[in-house]
Symmetry: C2
Subunit: 258 residues, 2 copies
C-alpha cells in the first residue's frame, strides 16, 4: 500500500533535499499522507522542515537493530506530512553497517513495521550525495528512485551511472524490482543555452521518464530552508511553490495511470 | 617541499571541483608546478580537464598497493599542470579500503613517492561530497584543507562539521597537523540578501581564514567543463576567469607570508 521512493543522485547539490521536502509537502497538501525519512547525515531535510538535529534521533539505531523506526516518526508543521529526522553521527553508520550481516538490507528490515502499519501513501527517503552504505540501503528498500537533475554539464555526466546502478542492485539481488520513478529537471534557467542543451539530452535518454514539470531556479527556494519551511509555507505565490505544486499533481497523475 | 591541499566539503555541489580545476590551472599559469589528483569516483575534475574516464586509470590500485601513483601522472593542456585521473569504479574502493590494515593512510602511503620526487609546488586533491573512506584518506594525507562554500543556507549549516572534522582527524592520530588552508566563497550573487547574510556569517566564524576573493556566479564557469577546459582557456575574459586568477594571486600571497 505504501510506495517507498528514494531521492538519489550521487552528484552533489542537484536538488535532492529541496525536491524531497517540497514534493512531500505538496503531496500532503493534496491529502496523500506522506512520510519523509532523512538518511543523509547532513540532515538538511530535517532542518528544511524546521527541526534541530538531535543526537540519537535518526535511523542509526534502527539500522543496527537497537531502536524501532516507528518510534522516530514525528509530525511536522504541514498537515499530513511526518518526518523521521537525521543526525550528524549517522555518518558513523557507513562503517558500522559494512561490518554486519546482510548489510544492504538493514534499512529495508527496519522499515518493515512502518510498511505493515500502512499509514502512508508515500514514503520519501532523502539520500546523501554518494553511493555508500546509506544510499544503497535506501535504494535496496525502495520501490522506485526519483532522480533530481540539475541543468549542468557535470550533473548530466552523472546520469549514466543511474541506469547502471539499477542494474547492479538487481544483479546483486539487493532489489530486483527497483524502478526509475522519474527524472525531475531542477534549477532550470531558460535564458541559458546550457540548460536547454541539458534538457534536450536528458529527454533523449530518458524519454517519458522525464517529468514535464521543470523546477525553475528561484531564490525563494533557497531562502525557505533558513526559515525551516517548505516553499508552500514560506512563499506560496513564488514560481518555486507553483512548480512543486505542478510536480505533485503530475506525480499523482502518473501514479494513477501507472 | 610540495604542499598537499585537499578540496573537501561534504555538502554537495558547492564548487569543490570547479575550484580545484580552475585554481590549479591559474597557479600553473603563475609558474607554480601543480598536480591535481581526482579521488572522486564521479571523475568530474578528470572530464573538466578534457579527459575521458578510463577503467583502471585512477588511484584505486595505488590505494591497494598494486600500482604506483607516479605512473598515473599525465600532462594536461595547461602548461605546468598535471593530473591523476579518476574512474567510476573507484567507488568500490570505499568498501575495499575499509577492510584493510591502516585504512586511513593508504593514500598517504601511495603519495609518498610523488612527494619524495618534489616535482610539484602544489598538489590539489579533489574529494567526493562525503566523509567516507576516500575523503578521509585525502584529508589524512593533506597538509591543509581548502573549503569551497556556496552562498546558500544548507551549505552554511554544513560548515560546523569542518572544525569538528579537523579535530576528529587529530584525535584519531590520522593527521595531527591538518590545517584549514582557507574558505573560498563560491557562486556569490551580490543581488541576493541570502548571499550577503551567508558571507557575513562565514566571515564572523572563520575570520581571516576566508579569502577576500569571492567567486561570482558566472554561467561561463558551468559551460567550461562541457568543453573540457579550465575557465582561463574557455573564456579568459569572463568574470569567472578573472576571479580565479585573483584567487590564485591571493593564495600565493597568503602562502608567501605563511
Ligand atoms: N530550483 C532551485 N532554485 C534555486 N535554488 C535551489 C533550487 N533547488 C535547490 N536550490 C538550492 O541549491 C542548493 C542545493 O540543493 P539541495 O541541497 O536540495 O541539493 P541536494 O542534491 O540535496 O544536495 P546534497 O547533494 O548536498 O544532498 C541548496 O542550497 C538549495 O537551497
Ligand atoms: N561560480 C560558479 N558560477 C556558476 N556555476 C558554477 C560556479 N561554480 C560551480 N558551478 C557549477 O555548479 C555545479 C557544482 O559545482 P561543482 O561540481 O564544482 O561542485 P562540487 O562541490 O565539486 O560538487 P560535488 O559535491 O558533486 O563534487 C557545477 O555544475 C558547476 O559547473
Ligand atoms: Mg541533500
Ligand atoms: Mg566535485
Amino acid at each position: 500500500r505504501s510506495r517507498v521512493i528514494a531521492l538519489a543522485n550521487q552528484k552533489g547539490g542537484v536538488g535532492k533535499t529541496t525536491t524531497a521536502v517540497n514534493l512531500a509537502a505538496c503531496l500532503a497538501g493534496l491529502s496523500s499522507r506522506t512520510l519523509l525519512i532523512d538518511i543523509d547525515p547532513q540532515a538538511n531535510a530535517t532542518s528544511g522542515l524546521g527541526f534541530k538535529k538531535e543526537h540519537g534521533r535518526s535511523v542509526y539505531g534502527a539500522l543496527l537493530g537497537t531502536t524501532s523506526l516507528p518510534d522516530l516518526i514525528q509530525p511536522t508543521s504541514i498537515d499530513g506530512l511526518d518526518l523521521i529526522p537525521s543526525e550528524i553521527d549517522l555518518a558513523g553508520a557507513e562503517v558500522d553497517i559494512a561490518r554486519t550481516e546482510n548489510y544492504l538490507h538493514r534499512f529495508q528490515h527496519a522499515l518493515k513495521p512502518v510498511l505493515d502499519e500502512g499509514r502512508y501513501e508515500f514514503i520519501f527517503v532523502d539520500c546523501p550525495p554518494s553511493l555508500g552504505m546509506l544510499t544503497m540501503n535506501g535504494l535496496a528498500a525502495a520501490h522506485s528512485m526519483l532522480v533530481p537533475l540539475q541543468c549542468e554539464y557535470y550533473a548530466l555526466e552523472g546520469l549514466s551511472v543511474i541506469n547502471r546502478l539499477i542494474a547492479q542492485l538487481s544483479d546483486a539481488n539487493a532489489n530486483v524490482d527497483l524502478e526509475l520513478e522519474g527524472v525531475v529537471i531542477t534549477m532550470y534557467d531558460s535564458r541559458t543555452n546550457l540548460a536547454q542543451q541539458v534538457v534536450a539530452e536528458v529527454r533523449q535518454h530518458f524519454g517519458e521518464k522525464v517529468y514535464d514539470t521543470m523546477i525553475p531556479r528561484n531564490i525563494r527556494l533557497s531562502e525557505a530552508p533558513s526559515h525551516g519551511q517548505p516553499i508552500v509555507m514560506y512563499d506560496s505565490g513564488s514560481t518555486g511553490a507553483h512548480a512543486y505544486r505542478e510536480l505533485a499533481s503530475e506525480f499523482i497523475l502518473r501514479r494513477g495511470t501507472a
